[in-house]
């Protein structure tokens, strides 16, 4: 089952949008992909997902992740435009407001996709798995913070 999960994860990674340095930092994009992969593998283990569950959950989560990555790129582009607009001396209120509204809309889209992710899990998990998912999420988010601490130590060691 876990092997199927691993295979699924790498297939999904291949289906994610290619990095585009012009639109967003490639490092950030790669981080996003790796966080997603790690999350999926750890979630599969922590929740002990069956093959039947993974066959329903993975494709939906893959699609959502793809859409989220796309929204994130548009947010990054929108922020860049907004910065440029603020920097220019001829920025009109209407232009600024339209950029702000567009960004607010994209942020909402992102939140909706997050909610859809949770809803798919909600529909496909058992009660015990749902309970485990809550604990898993907290641990995973904490783990990301710890990974960042490790990364800081690595960087400091490299730079010293």
């Amino acid at each position: 089952m876990v092997l199927a999960c691993i295979l699924g994860v790498f297939l999904l990674q291949g289906s994610l949008p290619a990095q585009n340095p012009q639109e967003q930092g490639p490092a950030r994009e790669r981080i996003r992909e790796n966080v997603y992969t790690l999350r999926l593998i750890r979630m599969t283990q922590a929740l002990d997902l069956t093959e039947e569950q993974t066959s329903r959950i993975y494709p939906a989560l893959g699609r959502i992740e793809k859409e989220k990555a796309d929204v994130q790129r548009r947010i990054a582009a929108g922020l860049r435009d907004l910065r440029d607009l603020l920097g220019s001396s001829q920025a009109r209120d209407e232009d600024l407001m339209s950029k702000v509204r567009a960004l607010q809309g994209l942020r909402k889209d992102l939140m909706k996709l997050d909610e859809e992710f949770e809803r798919i899990l909600e529909e496909n998990l058992t009660v015990v798995q749902k309970a485990k998912y809550v604990i898993f999420s907290v641990d995973f988010y904490k783990g990301l913070g710890e990974n960042l601490k490790k990364a800081r130590l690595m960087r400091n060691k490299r730079n010293s």
Binding site: C5, A27, I31, Q45, K68, F117, V138, Y141, G145
Partner: protein, 188 residues
């Protein structure tokens, strides 16, 4: 007792608020009662004097002096036995009590209210990622290091999944030997 009633009626008549029926009864009483006739005359005189004083000018400095006296009176606190001092004091007490309740309520909400510390329960996966991105900022070195740590974590998790006892079977030296490969995300 009867005269007291007529005295009230006399006052009402001077103010023009007495009914015809009562006025007739009052006239009958005044014809018989010298005390009430005298009372009516005095009251009329008093009213005439009051009317004159309405137009009298207030002496210069009177308002200032009155203001000072009022301030002094307020500063010296309520007069003992004064019936009006108590409500004022109570008003202050209620104001302080209200302020105290407000401060306590605000404190209770802050201390005991629902807490969602970001470290413990981030709102969502995206918020969690956004926080990580925020901490990395423009630091390319940190981004690269973080990515390496992530890849190592993925590799480690996959290895454990394939062979849960794989790492348990390794010695310290072997682990140290493999560490750079895992850290760099290379296949072992």
């Amino acid at each position: 007792m009867a005269c007291r009633k007529y005295e009230r009626w006399i006052s009402d008549e001077i103010d023009g608020r007495l009914s015809d029926k009562k006025r007739a009864a009052l006239r009958g009483h005044l014809e018989k009662c010298e005390g009430c006739r005298s009372y009516k005359e005095n009251l009329k005189l008093l009213q005439a004097e009051a009317g004159k004083s309405r137009d009298a000018a207030v002496p210069a400095g009177f308002m200032d002096a009155l203001g000072r006296r009022l301030e002094e009176g307020l500063r010296s606190g309520p007069v003992a036995g004064s019936e009006k001092a108590t409500p004022l004091a109570w008003r202050w007490k209620w104001a302080w009590a209200g302020a105290a309740v407000f401060v306590l309520a605000a404190g209770a909400i802050l201390l005991l209210g629902p807490k969602t510390p970001p470290d413990l329960w981030p709102a969502s996966y995206e918020d969690s990622l956004a926080r990580i991105y925020g901490e990395i900022g423009e630091d390319a070195d940190l981004a690269e290091s973080f990515d390496q740590v992530l890849q190592a974590s993925i590799g480690e998790t996959l290895l454990q999944a394939e062979n849960p006892t794989f790492w348990d079977g390794l010695g310290e030296d072997e682990i140290r030997l493999m560490e750079p490969d895992v850290t760099n995300g290379r296949e072992i």
